[in-house]
Subunit: 426 residues, 2 copies
């Protein structure tokens, strides 16, 4: 009856696209299993075993909240990061009745390099996109300049999903705090919130909401070895959310639909593992990534590494080979069992040039030859070194094929274009 493809995966394949998807961890699967088969009850059903299921769901919410330093009542469990982001940006609609906001305008500020899900939401409102520098870094002063009297929301991803640059969110939070104080002094009651999509970051960076200084935070189970189609939005009690989906009134009316108990339990298990293993794993991946980067740059001195040298996701390497075609590289690498992305999976699928690379001013010639390596739990020293050798060979072969005239076009050295970051940003 089922005719689904079961590709014969080479067990020796080297997966370097953890930013696009992660396998579900076996401990996560084990934690979920009882809620799929034995304890499958609807948490709203009236008998005791269903109450136990409800309790497990609320325990998962509490564990998720604890992992980010938040209160359980402030966590909404969603069907993934995209839904969370839509819910977060939709909060500006709740500002409609606020005094001081004439004409129902709800201005939103975002960075030019946000994930397409954020940009799509922001574009539904009056908005300003803040530019980034060549390393993908946002200057908090630019955020301040973009904030208008009717700005209700600033949404800035904690780390960019393509080039890995980590934003000075704490400094942006302080900027917003200043705006709040100004508004208070001026008698304006217009609220302003800071949302961050940290989906790429849990397990790699600190995602404690107090440390970050945000009002809303999006996380995604699918990026941290949890189940697909599960995410959360944390919103501080000050934020009024507007439901996208109405119905039975689950999640305090903010997100109706029968609760995904197994999914929440799996997400909680995944997040707890990610947070507890973070420091060790980030150090391990950073070391593997740095070695990969060195190997590729040693062999290709004119390759361009994008992202901030220091403030970059420890598992991510975005590297451009000017004059080469990234799609061909992906194909040739796949043929050698190395799976690597060209950028955001959903953008890659549309075969358009990345808005992130445009925003950092990467030359088209380099942008078109860009690969994104993202390491994770499937990465080992051995398979990362093997991948490095394969990439070096494939890139050399491609340069030989296209001729070397392209090699020195438009290439900038990574280490030279690093501006001095403002002090005390992070």
């Amino acid at each position: 009856m089922m005719r689904y493809p079961r590709p014969m995966l080479d067990s020796e394949f080297i997966y370097l696209d953890h930013a696009a998807a992660t396998p579900v961890d076996e401990q996560v699967r084990a934690a979920m299993a009882p809620y799929e088969t034995q304890l499958f009850f609807n948490p709203s059903s009236p008998y005791k075993p269903a109450w136990d299921v409800r309790h497990a769901f609320e325990q998962a919410r509490a564990d998720l909240a604890h992992a980010i330093g938040a209160k359980p009542a402030e966590v909404v469990i969603t069907a993934g990061a995209t839904e969370s982001i839509n819910l977060a940006v939709g909060a500006v609609n709740a500002c409609e009745g606020e005094p001081g906001l004439q004409g129902g305008a709800h201005h939103v500020v975002a960075s030019a390099i946000e994930h397409s899900a954020v940009l799509a939401c922001v574009q539904q409102h009056p908005h300003t996109l803040v530019p980034v520098n060549g390393n993908g870094l946002i200057d908090p002063r630019d955020v301040r300049a973009a904030i208008r009297d009717d700005t209700c929301l600033v949404t800035i991803g904690l780390a960019n999903n393509e080039i890995g640059t980590i934003q000075p969110l704490r400094a942006i939070s302080e900027t917003i705090q200043h705006v709040r104080q100004e508004r208070l002094r001026n008698g304006s009651a217009v609220p302003i919130y800071l949302h961050t999509d940290a989906s790429q970051c849990a397990g790699l960076l600190d995602v404690n909401v107090s440390t970050l200084g945000v009002d809303m935070l999006t996380l995604n189970a699918a990026k941290i070895y949890g189940p697909k189609q599960v995410g959360l939005l944390w919103a501080s009690r000050d934020v009024r959310l507007c439901p996208l989906v109405v119905g039975g009134g689950q999640e305090r009316g903010l997100r109706s639909g029968t609760e995904n108990v197994a999914g929440a339990v799996g997400f909680a298990q995944a997040l707890q593992m990610a947070v507890s293993q973070r420091k060790e794993e980030a150090a391990r991946l950073s070391s593997l990534r740095d070695a990969l980067q060195k190997a590729l740059l040693d062999a290709n001195p004119d390759a361009v590494v994008s992202g901030h040298k220091k403030h970059r996701l420890p598992n991510l390497l975005h590297i451009s080979f000017p004059g080469l075609d990234a799609e061909r590289l992906v194909y040739l690498l796949e043929d050698q069992g190395v799976y690597v992305g060209t950028g955001a999976a959903c953008a890659a699928n549309k075969a358009t040039r990345s808005h992130v690379l445009e925003a950092i001013g990467l030359a088209d010639d380099a942008a078109d030859g860009s690969l994104r390596f993202s390491l994770g739990r499937l990465s080992t020293q051995d398979n990362t070194q093997r991948a490095a050798r394969i990439v070096v060979d494939v890139v050399r072969g491609e340069y030989e094929r296209v001729g070397s005239e392209h090699v020195r076009m438009n290439a900038e050295s990574f280490w030279d274009n690093e501006p001095v970051p403002p002090k005390g940003l992070w």
Copy 2:
């Protein structure tokens, strides 16, 4: 680290709440497993194994579509029935620009006994609720009377989730076809669509979209032994949908977010099994349900069975014991290992009286003593008979406790209040 309750389930428990939740079938779990661990790739990633995952997702969509007699391109995979319903009712927003609709009004017609998810969506628009008769039956003439010149949507559940009454959807569809023809003659370009939530019905009734004559259909994997948090909305190509969640542009821009490949594959497996086993399973459950009903009515001649005698979900028995307290009954039955609901799980959780029972005019005294038995794959002749004996004993004990003065109050006999249904309705 994890402190989740693992209730010691008596392996001999008797589950009679299949309408609230179903366990994930082992074949469904097996179909999903490869897409959680080995084939976990993001379907939008650029390498071949990710394309295979994309292909599996599209194959699942094709199988889902085939099972309901629809085209794959018309199926949107969602995070469950509530989201599907929100998407369906939100389609009236797409009518905004239609000529003939002044002032942006988009009137919706629903029945008074729709699921709370449908009612919550409908209440966001100008709407009219069509009454039902004492058996929960909608008269298509009442639907016609409720349709205004600016009505864009009629949404009627195929079968009621509390009392099981199956609506004459085909006749309602024909009514709407007449309205379309009238509008055409009158030069009106206002569209009108018929949506049905058939979440309770797959595996029990024919859910072929052509047979039903609908324009949109909602289904839910969680009600048919598939995974939680997966549903679909089928919408004919004539319907313009408005996305609730924007972002990466997945699902033809109608529902952004990384695709839940394992969930879709599991849903397809579950729906195919439900459809292929439907006739046999419906007959089996109907026979068990009828025996349960007879046993309970024989012991309690004044109990009230709600729903239509003939046009009723084959697995469902809604029975009221006037003068008794349903919550106490649930508790006492649970103590004997029998799990039964009092109605819709989400309504039950709020301890409010059911709007369905109010709509059919059931006396409060009976409504408050109502149980909903819903049979399914966990039901056998043996455990249904045992349940019948336990319910009879518990009900007898309760009547002895509260005294018999309540017994004959407000009770109507099921078999006497059955009106003659209009001919050719189904």
